[in-house]
């Protein structure tokens, strides 16, 4: 069976670095930190960690969510609509004339509308069941993000959410690409969205000792993947959306093709609920499967956008896995963790990082790993420290790994006009 090629024709992004693609990209290339102190915390005792890669000054447009509906949907749904709108405008997909049943949406989210669940739980406890809103359930369910996208733009094809913790968006993109490869959809709006800045989620991640909690007073220095002084991840929020299309059809309609998705790998560690397998028995095959599907050799990869969350064990495990897959070439290619600037967007990480991968290809620029002053022992790859670099890139690999021992690797290729 001949598989269709998959084109990326639109991008949308928001996170602590900005609320649109250009701001996010330009600030990343400039090596800025999007991590800041969380404002207006009433009771600091309830927040073990008080910093995050926060989205700032955002209000969704009336056109996407009318005033009366705004309070009815968790903020991760606002982000998804906002970024889908940006990506769709860039792609001009709405002018393509595709059958609405051939346009789908698959969106990843790790925790969905968790903050809305917290709020409703308070109402329930204080006022009883009769005061729980009929809009409570629709406000938080993960698939309301693709659901609202379908309603806004009349996309009647496949529509579902993916939830695989911090690999959610990457799995969503992999599923979306498969739909197009198999010819079941002509286009899919995909990616991930996450917004769980709340004391309770922080308490949970903090209890796992996963969060960096020593830099409440210097937030921009807290996320420092591969650095010897790293001590946990920094929570981020935001969204990254891609418009994927059947490449032949995109070409036929004269769409600007930004890149191709040529490989996807997905595995499980089958090892531990939260710790990565120390010998990379999940992540190594994951990267290899993606390379095999892409039909390329390890030496063809120019840049790896690493999972690199800034945790002591995770960064070493990934570094070792990269070395196992790439051998000597591991030292020649560039690696970077953009989480050093965005914080960890959890279920949206693979979305915004795919956006970085594609921009790296189209702009010939690799965004840096900031706060990397002294690599820790064992972290001896070229992590593109502190400054972005210019480099002609043909193939980029993105890693996303999640709790539950789930792994996903996506490979993007420069579109060379044929």
């Amino acid at each position: 069976m001949k598989l269709n090629r998959v084109a990326v024709t639109g991008l949308g992004a928001m996170c602590g670095l900005g609320n649109n693609l250009d701001d996010v990209w330009n600030n990343a290339v400039a090596g800025k930190s999007g991590v800041s102190k969380i404002p207006n915390i009433e009771d600091t005792k309830m927040w073990p960690v008080q910093i995050a890669g926060l989205v700032k000054d955002f209000e969704i447009s009336e056109d996407l969510l009318p005033a009366k509906e705004k309070a009815r949907f968790d903020i991760f749904i606002h982000y998804a609509l906002h970024c889908a709108d940006e990506a769709l405008k860039q792609s001009k997909l709405l002018d393509a004339g595709y059958d609405p049943y051939m346009i789908g949406s698959i969106i990843g989210t790790g925790l969905g509308g968790f903050p809305e669940i917290e709020k409703a739980n308070e109402t329930y406890n204080e006022k009883g069941p009769r005061r729980v809103s009929p809009f409570f359930v629709p406000s938080f369910i993960p698939n309301m993000a693709p659901g609202k996208i379908s309603m806004r733009w009349n996309f009647r094809g496949i529509n579902h959410a993916v939830s695989s913790a911090c690999a959610s968006a990457a799995h969503a993109i992999g599923s979306a690409a498969s739909e197009i490869m198999l010819g079941r959809q002509d286009a899919v709006v995909t990616g991930g969205s996450e917004a769980v800045i709340s004391g309770l989620t922080f308490a949970g991640f903090n209890a796992m000792k996963a969060l960096s909690k020593t830099r409440n007073d210097e937030p921009e220095l807290a996320s420092r993947p591969f650095d010897k002084d790293r001590n946990g991840f920094v929570m981020g929020e935001g969204c990254g959306i891609l418009v994927l299309e059947n490449l032949d059809k995109a070409k036929a309609r004269g769409a600007k093709i930004l890149a191709e998705i040529v490989g996807f790998g997905a595995t499980a560690d089958a090892y531990h609920i939260t710790s990565p397998h120390p010998d990379g028995e999940g992540t190594i095959p994951c990267m290899k499967h993606a390379l095999t599907q892409a039909g390329i050799e390890p030496k063809d990869i120019d840049y790896i956008n690493a999972h690199g969350t800034s945790t002591p064990t995770g960064d070493i495990a990934e570094t070792n896995a990269i070395k196992a897959v790439f051998g000597e070439h591991a030292y020649k290619l560039n690696v970077s963790s953009t989480k050093s600037m965005t914080g960890h967007l959890l279920g949206a990480a693979g979305g915004i990082e795919s956006v970085f991968c594609i921009k790296a290809i189209t702009e010939g620029t690799i965004p840096p790993t900031i706060n990397l002053n002294e690599p820790s022992e064992g972290c001896d790859l070229n992590y593109t420290p502190n400054n972005s670099i210019k480099k002609d890139i043909k193939y980029v690999l993105n890693n996303s790994f999640g709790f539950g021992g789930t792994n996903a690797t996506t490979i993007f290729k420069k579109y060379e006009g044929n």
């Binding site: 009366k68 009769r130 809103s133 009929p134 809009f135 629709p138």
Partner: protein
């Protein structure tokens, strides 16, 4: 404030429809395009604002502003 005026104010705030366009005979579903979930939420707001309980089997009869105002007058 008259009960009906208060009802209109609550409905206006919830629906973002200007209060001057909401009359006694305004129908929630036909005129304000509320769906079944909107109606549940609207009745919850009335319960909260007026401190009454609207029995579930009663809500089906409350189709207009006037219906609600009349119900509230007797319930209070």
């Amino acid at each position: 404030m008259e009960i009906q005026d208060k009802v209109i104010k609550i409905v206006s705030e919830a629906t973002k429809v200007d209060a001057s366009n909401i009359k006694s005979e305004t129908n929630f579903i036909d005129d304000l395009n509320l769906d079944s979930l909107d109606m549940v939420e609207m009745m919850m707001k009335m319960e909260e604002e007026f401190g009454v309980e609207i029995p579930e089997d009663k809500t089906e009869d409350l189709k207009t502003i006037n219906d609600v105002a009349n119900f509230l007058k007797t319930a209070q």
